[in-house]
Amino acid sequence: MLSKKNKEALFNPLSKDNPVLVQILGICSTLAVTASMEPAIVMGISVIAVMALSNVIISLIRKSIPTTIRIIVQLVVVAALVIIVQQFLIAFDYDVSKQLSVFIGLIITNCILMGRLEAFALNNRPWPSFLDGIGNGLGYTIILVIVAAVRELFGSGSLMGFQVIPQWCYDHGYENNGLMILPPMALITVACIIWVHRARNPELMEN
């Protein structure tokens, strides 16, 4: 069940082969939904679900897909799964689905999905593909949550909607940094994470 290769498929994407930091996939949504933690976590869970299921489905039918139209087949499978997730969110968590607006739909074109389908699910059996999907989804979610935590803490002084920075700080002149809420700071936060990550893993540095 969990041979060495399967373990690698599951755990490598968490740090050494992280989809956001190393493969540079799925940037759009990383930046757009991370102004606070709740939508980031919902987005992460949606991506994990869509990713694991689409990897399994494509892996099951990988031998019968003609290579010339495989992109359309992959897109249709992913789109069908995303529609299920979208309807589920509208039914059970309407407020968050409003906040995420078009970005749930954009999971379809999230490059992590296409990237992993092309690179892994098309050549591997369903069980490793499932683990790869979960692993990459988790790696993506971790980055999403870190970025969202930094931005929410400094931008609104709260985490998950609860006030963290106490009132007496504000009484003594502390101000929330409004810039952190704005989209460009997400890029700079991700850049700092990449900086730390590469400094700790010198083999990833570019020349």
Partner: protein
């Protein structure tokens, strides 16, 4: 006048890259030199202009609640809007395929210079994002939607050419080693985004 406003607004204020972060993956991957960046920008603009009116008509006459009533009054309460995503992505993927074949037939030189970017446009989120924003904004007609598509595409083109130009220059700078390559590109994009935010105060 309304259309001109929308055009300028979609280029600068609602810029696809700097205010919505759509199409980031190819934006970061293909911005190493100005020439290819320009080619990709043109291709994205073209696809937005082609698919936007098709998706608009599809949305208006097939997908919206009650949109099918032009067929027969009995269909007035049919709501197909949950199919929106799958229809849009099918239109975009097939349009990409068609455009690819047409370009290959009629202009082999352009086809060779665009290379792999042409098929990859199908998964560029700026195109699908454009369709979804178009659905949200509820435009009055297909022409307005096309203008919005053209504006968004040109905004994307400007952004990628600007970034590519900066990256060509920064190759000569002494950047800290862990930041080289993708890290510094993120920071540049962030700073460009802050600069573009100065357009936000403009009311058109």
């Amino acid at each position: 006048m309304e259309e001109l406003n929308l055009f300028v607004k979609s280029i600068f204020i609602d810029n696809m890259i700097f205010s919505y972060f759509l199409g980031m993956c190819s934006f970061l991957a293909v911005s190493k030199n100005v020439k290819t960046a320009f080619g990709l920008g043109l291709a994205v603009t073209f696809m937005l202009v082609v698919t936007m009116p098709i998706n608009f008509l599809l949305d208006k006459y097939v997908l919206q609640p009650g949109a099918l009533s032009w067929l027969s009054p009995q269909l007035a309460d049919v709501d197909l809007s949950f199919l929106g995503l799958i229809m849009f992505i099918a239109v975009i993927a097939s349009a990409t395929q068609l455009v690819e074949m047409a370009v290959e037939k009629f202009s082999p030189s352009l086809y060779a210079s665009l290379g792999i970017f042409l098929p990859l446009i199908a998964v560029n989120c700026a195109i699908l994002g454009g369709a979804l924003f178009m659905q949200q904004k509820d435009f009055p007609g297909a022409l307005t939607a096309t203008i919005y598509g053209a504006g968004s595409g040109i905004g994307w083109l400007l952004a990628i050419v600007g970034l590519a130009a900066i990256r060509e220059k920064i190759a000569y700078s002494n950047v800290p080693r862990p930041l080289r390559g993708i890290g510094i590109t993120f920071i540049i994009t962030g700073l460009m985004g802050i600069a573009f935010m100065s357009f936000m105060g403009i009311k058109l």
